[in-house]
Every structure is written in structure tokens, then in C-alpha cells.
Symmetry: C2
Subunit: 198 residues, 2 copies
């Protein structure tokens, strides 16, 4: 989880995402991002001539792609994949982090939405795109698992809404309870949507 090896540009985007999901967009300074990435301050204006807005948008973008990629991994890791199993894995990613690293960090896309939805149109659009690139693989996975196409999109939206909300509650009360609760309560509903047994 420390700074990866990649190039400085990618490191800065990654660091921005980490700091944003911890402190929010407004409280995250450009200098702080550079320092966290171990990158020179001068590189900021070189790689991100669009300024903070561009950096934030790329961080949100990166987070969306990351979340989307995870879905395939979760499916591959499950011995016998089911909708509830997928959802449990999505939730477990967060309970694991909170139990091992503490409740310092939330979802960067949520932070960007809260802080910029009204003030910065391009960031709001980036957040919407990020949610979309996260929802889409989930919906597709549900279809693969036997959920009717008409229903898959709605359930994917429900899953992501529940996870995002549970992250907020869990962070606020510093307890993974809300996360495990939504996983437990939503599991049966998700599995019941499967109309074909493989």
C-alpha cells in the first residue's frame, strides 16, 4: 500500500487518491500530494497543467477503474461464485482494511462527490464515470451468475449504494458492523434473483 514503483506521474495520481479518500478533496493540498508520492513539487505543473482539478479527476478515474478491476478478481477467487458471494467479497475488502489499517480512509469517489459535485462540474462527471465503470462489471457478473439482464443493473446499483453507505456508517462509528450487516441482509436477496442454476 506504500508508494508503488511506477513512474512519478502515476505515483502522484495514486497518492492523490489515497489522500483524498482520507481527508477529502478540499483538505488535500497539491504540495502534500507531491510529498506523499516522493515526487518533486515542480512535476505537478509539468504533468498536470490542468492544475488540481485535473489531478483530482485522474485520481477519481483511477479509483473507478481499480474498483471495476477488482470485481473480476473477486469472482475468480470464489470457489463457487454466487451474487451473495461476490457482494461479500466487495464488503470484505473494506472490513479487511478497517480491521488491519484502521478507519482512516473511505472511498475516494464518494469524497469527490461530496466535495465537488456542486462546485466542479468536471469532477462530478468523473465521479459519475467512476461509479459507472464500477457498476458495469458488477452487473455483468450478475448476468453471468444467472440474474436476468433486466434486473442485474438495478441490483448492481443496490449493491454499490449499500457498500458506499455502509462505508460511511462504519467510518463514523469506527465499527465494521454496518458493512457486515449489509452483506448479511442483502445476500439472500441477491441469490434469490438468480433464475438459472448455471
Amino acid at each position: 500500500m506504500t508508494v508503488a514503483e511506477r513512474g512519478p506521474r502515476e505515483r502522484m495520481v495514486f497518492s492523490a487518491a489515497q489522500l483524498i479518500r482520507r481527508d477529502g478533496v478540499a483538505a488535500t493540498g497539491m504540495r502534500e500530494v507531491a510529498a506523499h508520492a516522493g515526487a518533486p513539487r515542480g512535476s505537478l505543473q509539468h504533468y498536470f497543467p490542468g492544475g488540481k482539478e485535473q489531478l483530482v479527476n485522474e485520481a477519481v478515474d483511477w479509483a473507478g477503474r481499480y474498483a471495476g478491476r477488482r470485481v473480476a478478481r473477486f469472482l475468480a477467487a470464489l470457489p463457487e461464485p454466487t451474487p451473495s458471494g461476490l457482494f461479500a467479497e466487495m464488503v470484505r475488502q473494506w472490513t479487511d482494511e478497517y480491521e488491519t489499517a484502521g478507519f482512516a480512509r473511505g472511498c475516494p469517489v464518494a469524497a469527490a462527490t461530496v466535495d465537488c459535485a456542486e462546485s466542479t462540474a468536471s469532477t462530478r462527471e468523473a465521479a459519475a464515470a467512476a461509479f459507472a465503470t464500477w457498476t458495469e462489471p458488477v452487473a455483468r457478473a450478475l448476468v453471468d451468475l444467472g440474474v436476468p439482464k433486466e434486473r442485474a443493473g438495478a441490483l448492481a446499483t443496490l449493491m454499490i449504494s449499500a457498500v458506499e453507505g455502509a462505508i460511511l456508517l462504519a467510518r463514523a462509528q469506527q465499527d465494521v458492523g454496518p458493512l457486515t450487516t449489509v452483506a448479511r441482509e442483502l445476500g439472500p436477496l441477491l441469490d434469490a434473483a438468480v433464475t438459472r442454476d448455471d
Copy 2:
């Protein structure tokens, strides 16, 4: 929705909540709050000697109590109250706002959590308390509607998680779809938890 009549102190707390849920905590200035409340700047340090932290905490507190109070109203407004009906009302509060006033504003408690959970302990606790004072009436309502006590708390947590997450998605993509989706998909699950038919 404009500035109410109350005293200047309460107006400032209210204005703080409104600005926070629009722009986030960090981006909301004290001077801005005073101006929005039509209150003199000097009153800030008089009523809130604890500074911004105190003001934000009281705004979060106020939001929690407001949300809690709404629950009773929703129940009273329903011709024949059911868990799904209550949830639909909770969601409708947001779809109504978004359809009439646009997607400028989100939940102030969510904003406080995202912006202050790591940086300001007292605000994180205020957010946790706010979520609690919101969850508790919902859980109690579920019990009244026939949901077993052991299950009511979990379902209340699920409801609030889903609403909070759906608010994020809806704001990001400027579409009430996620809100209506979670209401539709979660309704049957909630009603199915009723074990007694009144």
C-alpha cells in the same frame, strides 16, 4: 427552505448544515455561514467560542435530529404503514428535493464523515451520534410494524446505508435513478421481514 425566523444562533447552525451538505466541510467558510444566515460575523465567536469545530458539530447534530424526527412524520403520513412504505418515504424526500431543487445538495452527515472522520475526532463522533439518532427511530418503527427486534436494527442500518449510497450515486450522475432503484429493490425484502400481520 430559506432562513427561518429563529434566533441568530440557530440560523447559523442551520445555514452551516446547508452549506456543508452542498460544498463539504472544508470548503465552507465561517464568514460564508454568517452571511448565509444573515447574521453578523462577530456573532460567530460569541455563540461558538469553540470555533468552526463546534459549529460543524452542532450542524451535524442538528441534521441527525432532523432526520430522526422525519421518521415519525413519514409513518404518520402513510395510510397503512409498512416497512417498504417507510423506506419509500425516506427515499422520496430526496427524489423530491433533487427533482425540484436540483442535485446541489447531499447529506451533511455524510459530508462531515468524509471530510472530518480522520482529522477531527469530535466531528467524527458527532457524525456517529447523528447516524445513531437517525437509525434508532427507524429500527423502532420497524418493530412497531411487526419486524422482530433482533432483525430491526440490522434492517434499519441497511436502509440508511442504501439511502446514503444512493444519494451519492444520484448526485454524481445527476439522476434520481439510484434512489428509486434501491427503494424498489429493497421494498419486498423489508416487508418480508414482518412476522406479525398487525
